[in-house]
Subunit: 152 residues, 2 copies
Amino acid sequence: MLGRTYEGQNCSVARALELVGERWTLLILRDAFLGVRRFGDFADRLGIARNVLQDRLERLVDEGVLEKVPYCERPPRYEYRLTERGLDLWPVLVALLKFGDRHYAPDGPPMLLLHKECGGEVDDRRTCARCGALVEVGDVRIEPGPGLKRAA
Amino acid sequence: MLGRTYEGQNCSVARALELVGERWTLLILRDAFLGVRRFGDFADRLGIARNVLQDRLERLVDEGVLEKVPYCERPPRYEYRLTERGLDLWPVLVALLKFGDRHYAPDGPPMLLLHKECGGEVDDRRTCARCGALVEVGDVRIEPGPGLKRAA
């Protein structure tokens, strides 16, 4: 766990990384923002070992970033939903996405963040490039972009 | 290396994480933004194994995020400076910082990002809360905040 080794650092970046700096955690959160809720769906999309996935999800629940919500009583089944605290990680994901778009997307962004209301692109300050609105996570529609390539 | 395991992911978040998702890399970059340039200074501040630090710095140079600039000829000595691409990671660090400030800084932010020109606080959209300017990395002054505690 990163936490232990970063503990000497009295810094909000280090604190945030104790939570999201573990391998796969930010991709799990990305998928949560894309609407993935169930263990099997995370596992299929990410292709990671189920024990690693379980570990990361539990950590996120313990930290109050995801919550487990029952969707079936018999057998008992849970899905994972972003909490308010989890939604506060949206700016981190947008910042990573925009950096990737700028430097690692020669065919254009694989995924577009659009302002629901006017259809404008959301920029790296999370404002709408068309209407100038300050866009919150709930105001965003995601669409495939020009750089999207399906795996062969 | 994260890269290999994330390769199936056609996603700018995953691409960005191939670069900055390795343990310690974002803290090295944080220090670079704080003005740290030399190997020994990174090592002292971060307290990580020198071979790990060397590995991370080399990767960042290979990826064009840092550049090695000679500062002494005999013996040959280099310092590490952020490139333009490296400066583009500023929004990622601000997003992590603001998340940490919000959720893991009960005594207030350890570090304040202030707009050089007017002294206003820079918010999580990298705009000045006082004058409303869109603040770039070069427009920011960093000061100790109320949550700063010195290690005992």
